[in-house]
């Protein structure tokens, strides 16, 4: 048996109680939602909180309100299955349901939450291993060691942003609410992620994610394309989220192209967006945008598949995404 290490488990009923518990727990405390990321990590001793505070019984974090006109607010403790099946999400923000459906497996989606997905730990073949395995290579910088096995001369960790909803939320222009005993603040999804495999969030560990806000849709269209080995289970080794807003005559008013799974943070390719905005979507523009994304993708050799191939796949995946939006 791969057992969890010992920890104290707390189940608050209100947000104020939850953040107070976290303040009391200090740096050894962690929040847990579905546990589908945290518990495997704890079993492998990658994360070893002494106090685990569950957010699943916080009723305030389990509702969805609003629609395409007003924008919506999604409670982070909602399961991925409920996101996939939610009528308002399917009608007004179908890309969110589509991307959620591509996450892992039905069994995991019954447990995992949308909030946990947005805050998923970064992943790496040298890190997502059990304690003995990691000890065998004398650990790595992300946990217990001091070298990066992927890029040994690198001062930073390149563990990969691997959550499917992350590029989607950045593309949609989502914002999230973070709450702690010190107060609350709103952060853009784009500003939430940090290009460092260890400190991958611009969020303090004591801050609780309590709301996910999506702006009004205003005719914007969005898609998400995922590359992985199997049709279930596997994390993305490349994810492309694209949004497009076009005038009556087809001129692109606004575009966003976000790459996931190829760096420690989602990559917004502004060069590609610039190529599209102000023009009609023709084959040439789309190919140029895909090329710009290819240049920006910088996968390393720490996930499934060859890194060069993952980089090359950015081109056809961006093209496919744009063609679908056309």
């Amino acid at each position: 048996m791969m057992r969890l290490p010992k920890f104290e488990y707390r189940v608050p009923r209100e947000i104020s109680e939850a953040v107070k518990m976290m303040a009391d727990a200090g740096p050894d405390g962690m929040f847990v939602a579905g546990g589908t990321d945290l518990y495997p990590n704890m079993k492998r001793r990658q994360q070893t909180p002494k106090t685990v505070i569950s957010v699943t019984r916080l009723q305030e974090m389990r509702a969805i309100r609003g629609d395409a006109e007003t924008g919506i607010v999604i409670g982070p403790s909602i399961s991925l299955t409920d996101i996939c099946n939610h009528p308002v999400i399917n009608r007004d923000y179908p890309v969110v349901a589509e991307a959620a459906r591509l996450i892992s497996t039905p069994l995991l989606r019954n447990m995992g939450t949308i909030g946990g997905n947005l805050l998923l730990d970064t992943r790496c073949n040298y890190y997502d291993q059990n304690y003995e395995w990691r000890k065998g290579i004398n650990f790595c910088m992300k946990k217990d060691g001091d070298i990066c096995w992927v890029a040994p001369s690198s001062p930073k960790c390149w563990a990969v942003q691997s959550a499917d909803l992350v590029p989607v939320m950045v593309a949609l222009g989502a914002r999230v609410k973070l709450v702690s005993t010190l107060g609350e603040r709103m952060v853009t999804a784009e500003g939430l992620y940090n290009d460092d495999g260890i400190n991958y969030l611009h969020k303090r560990p004591d801050e609780l994610l309590t709301e996910i806000h999506l702006p009004p849709r205003n005719g914007m269209k969005a898609v998400y394309k995922k590359l992985r080995r199997r049709g279930a289970f596997d994390f993305p080794v490349l994810g492309v989220a694209a949004t497009l807003d076009r005038a009556e005559d087809g001129t692109v008013r606004d575009a966003r192209l976000i790459l996931g799974g190829v760096a420690p943070a989602p990559i917004r390719v502004k060069e590609a967006e610039g190529i599209l905005v102000g023009h009609k979507l023709d084959q040439e523009r789309m190919a140029a945008a895909a090329e710009a994304c290819y240049l920006k993708a910088r996968p390393l050799d720490n996930t499934d598949f060859l890194m060069n191939w993952r980089k090359q796949m950015a081109r056809p995946f961006v093209l496919r995404a744009l063609e679908e939006l056309r």
Binding site: M2, K6, E8, G34, G35, S54, S104, P106
Partner: protein
Amino acid sequence: MIKIKPMAEDKKQKAHIRFVLNGETVEVAFAPHKTLLEVLREDLNLTGTKHGCELGECGTCAVLVDGLPILSCLALGLDMEGREVTTIEGMAEGGCLHPLQVTFADLGAAQCGYCSPGFLLTAKELLERNPAPTRDEIREALSGNLCRCTGYIKIYEAVELAAARMRGEEAEPAREIIHGYE
């Protein structure tokens, strides 16, 4: 692995919860950081629920909690307080096998059988939600359960046959399913 500890210390460290297991209320005491899988197998001696990867990557540990299939290796025992849990031991009713158990046995959908408890419970929930699933819907619903023996086809066929029988049809397996193609 059995650890022997003095009684007093053991008591202090244990959590007590009450939940409904296979239709009956049970009370159980266990070390608070145990997963539902460990509680079922080690503290309730129900070893029908299997342990595979223990990391969410295989589905053999699936059980139903409040009717939904989840992975018992990633659920805490403590979270079961007040819930309803169904394991493979609770699938037959009054000595009568569930139609899925019958077709799994008859059609060779269980070979080594290690994956069967997880598949059966996951399929049970599918058929309750969708009595006439298409092959693709079955494939999708069972995509979180790995089987290293059957190649899945026999499992899909068994679910289809059980579904037909549960809809009240007098379904028999096609000849090829039992005897193979000539």
